[in-house]
């Protein structure tokens, strides 16, 4: 395999890397489009509606049509907005969402995966940069709803990043590695099976914190429609709005993939090819997120913060303690 660090970089190598990246990008875009379609269909069924069924067979091309519509729309910049910030904020939010996908092991062959030794850390570190994009977008719009939305999202995401990180810690302790590939292979041979079994508390904390990280119902306060109109992207239109939207759905996919990898055994499973196992588990995870969205009302902001600091973090800490104690005894 080509080692980009030590071997001379030729144009061929560069082109190879570029093409690889573009392929992954389009693959992810495809997945995201159908995540959106999946959400609309699932929630449609849950609400006794049909969901998209006009563009293409079964409405399969609806998301594509939506994206095209957004790309063709006028890019409106409010007169009193902070122009450079307003333009750059969606990009800051969007780029890390794609970057985190680099470490997810989709298949047993690692064809798309960077075997980073600190994969989990990489995910958490990069996803925290997206918050900067959201806060800046809210600030640059020069709209009070956007500002409050941005502030709320910053407070929320910082609060929930802590239980998210702590909930993963139990898995890391069991696997003894931050490398996501290693974590998956460990789960295949672990005597308790997938880590959802020994780490059930961690898994619950992870799912709750993940929903909050994604700003989805019942934790969708930054974009709470009935309170803040659209929160931090109230003033955004066209493809800048699409950037935020896509970033949100890429994170839905990414965090589901991370959850699958950490707790549900990743690509591991009998009979079926590894990528299919991964797809099934991730879809189930995504489905759960949508299910919650269709069921729950929204929590209030102070309750949300209280819940993170008073409930989730102590529980996650307790889980770490328990994991440590159990792995010493057993």
């Amino acid at each position: 395999m080509f080692s980009w660090q030590t071997q001379p970089l030729t144009w061929m190598h560069f082109l190879g890397m570029l093409i690889g990246a573009v392929i992954v990008l389009f693959l992810v875009l495809f997945i995201v489009m159908y995540t959106i379609y999946f959400e609309r269909k699932v929630i449609g069924w849950m609400q006794n509606r049909i969901g998209p069924n006009r563009v293409g067979p079964f409405g399969l091309l609806q998301s594509a049509a939506d994206v095209f519509k957004l790309l063709l729309k006028e890019d409106i910049i409010p007169a009193n907005a902070d122009r450079p910030m307003f333009l750059i904020a969606p990009i800051i939010a969007f780029v890390p969402s794609f970057m985190v996908l680099a470490v997810i092991p989709y298949t047993a062959t690692h064809i798309f995966t960077a075997g980073l030794n600190v994969g989990v850390l990489y995910y958490i570190a990069l996803s925290s940069i997206s918050i900067v994009g959201i806060v800046l977008g809210g600030w640059a719009s020069n709209n009070k709803y956007s500002l409050v939305g941005g502030l709320r999202s910053a407070a929320q995401m910082i609060s929930y990043e802590i239980p998210l990180g702590l909930s993963i810690l139990g898995v890391i302790m069991l696997a003894g590695s931050l490398n996501l590939n290693t974590i998956v292979t460990h789960q295949a041979t672990d005597r308790f099976g997938w880590y959802i079994i020994p780490q059930i508390i961690g898994f619950v904390v992870f799912v709750i914190a993940a929903i909050a990280e994604l700003n989805r119902t019942p934790f969708d306060l930054p974009e709470a429609e009935s309170e803040l109109v659209a929160g931090y992207f109230t003033e955004y239109t066209g493809f800048r709005f699409a950037f935020y939207m896509l970033a949100e759905y890429v994170y839905v996919f990414a965090i589901s993939a991370l959850g699958t990898t950490l707790f549900l055994g990743g690509w591991e499973g009998p009979f079926l090819p590894s990528w299919l196992w991964f797809a099934i588990k991730t879809s189930a995870f995504i489905f759960f997120l949508f299910w919650v969205r269709a069921t729950m009302p929204r929590i209030r902001i102070d309750q949300l913060m209280g819940f993170a600091w008073k409930v989730l973090i102590p529980v996650a800490l307790f889980n770490i303690l328990l994991t440590g104690a159990l792995s010493l005894i057993l």
Binding site: P218, L221, E227, V229, M296, P297, I301, D302
Partner: protein, 368 residues
């Protein structure tokens, strides 16, 4: 936080175009951080001068205008007007007409309360109930469509009766609707009333005391949620309400949860009334003997009915002509909305929507 920290106040305009004000309603909120220190409701964006217009219209011509007040419960508005005119004329109403009126009014109350449930939950961030309630409401609206040809602005009542008799099979359809709706109410109760997040958002929020409720002239569910059993259908029976068995349900705490729950309970009570009315409805004419041109004898008359949102009254000053000298509409939403400022001050911004939603206003009625 101690008060020594210097903070800046922020003025936030909620509305006139905002997803949760249910119409063109503006709330100028002064915020200190997330805490509301003042709230000034600004209404009038939907003012059409119904009262002024009515002074130039004959009584029958006013009926369609009342449809546009509380457009979620137009049957009740229709009735409030024709009832006051009938009261002034001391008219005898044919029994079948009265029964039909009670049936459509209670159905309309159910439809209106259903929409409250949906929009309130939507305000609190739950989107599914909003889509569920529209299915039951659709059945009611279909029934109305069959009886009067309109889905929203019915113009169904007439002085002395109703415009159309029920089409064949309509009464049976209403009868079939009752058990269906009962099941659905049970479902909503299960779905919503026990939800922990929902309870955290509405329990103990926006508490109205008995004294405040009386001082602010609240009516309807806002009044009954404080524990005062005042329902004009019971306390000052009009139409056939003294013939039906139903309960006036009251709350205990006067908070948003009580107001939500009373809506559910009132749907149950309305179903009981509809059930009895459907069982008893006689045959006969639906429009009494009324002069072609209705002239209300000179004098002043005030009658009020229990609307979907509270005491819905019509005050007529007549000089004996075929047009009212002055028509004043006592719109419950308008009066109930006044307490909003008191409820909001001192609350956190996040509670604003929960409180505003539970007061249950319709802007068409507030602004008349």
């Amino acid at each position: 936080m101690s008060t020594s920290l210097r903070t800046e106040e922020m003025i936030l305009n909620v509305g006139p175009q905002h997803p949760s004000t249910h119409g063109v309603f503006r709330l100028v909120v002064t915020l200190d951080g997330e805490q509301i220190i003042d709230a000034d409701p600004v209404v009038g964006y939907l003012h059409r001068g119904t009262e002024k217009l009515a002074e130039g219209l004959q009584y029958t011509q006013i009926i369609p205008y009342t449809d546009r007040l509380d457009y979620l419960a137009a049957m009740l508005n229709n009735y409030a007007l024709v009832h006051t005119v009938e009261y002034a004329l001391d008219l005898e109403i044919p029994a079948r007409a009265e029964y039909l009126r009670v049936i459509v009014m209670e159905l309309n109350r159910i439809a209106s309360h259903l929409l409250f449930l949906g929009t309130y939950l939507l305000d609190l961030g739950a989107m599914s109930p909003f889509l569920y309630v529209f299915q039951e409401r659709e059945r009611i609206v279909q029934l109305f469509n069959e009886i009067c040809g309109a889905r929203l602005t019915y113009n169904y009542m007439r002085v002395g009766g109703v415009k159309w008799d029920a089409p064949p099979g309509w009464i049976e359809k209403v009868r079939d609707f009752i058990p269906f709706m009962r099941e659905k109410v049970k479902m909503y109760d299960k779905l919503i009333s026990g939800n922990e997040i929902f309870l955290h958002r509405v329990r103990g929020i926006g508490v109205i005391t008995k004294e405040d409720a009386l001082q602010y002239s609240l009516s309807g569910i806002n009044l009954r949620s404080t524990g005062i059993a005042f329902d004009l259908r019971k306390n000052r029976p009009y139409s056939l309400y003294n013939q039906f068995e139903f309960d006036v349900v009251t709350g205990k705490n006067g908070d948003c949860f009580d107001r939500y729950y009373l809506h559910l309970e009132e749907i149950r009570q309305s179903l009981r009334i509809v059930e009895q009315a459907v069982a008893q409805i006689p045959e006969g004419p639906v429009l009494g003997k009324v002069p072609k041109l209705i002239r209300v004898p000179a004098g002043e008359y005030y009658r009020s009915i229990e609307g979907a949102r509270g005491e819905l009254g019509v005050y007529i000053v007549s000089d004996g002509k075929d047009k009212p000298y002055r028509l004043k509409l006592r719109r419950p939403s308008f009066v109930n909305l006044q307490i909003l400022r008191k409820l909001l001050i001192g609350q956190s911004m996040a509670n604003l929507i929960a409180i505003l939603g539970a007061v249950d206003i319709v802007l068409g009625e507030v602004d008349a």
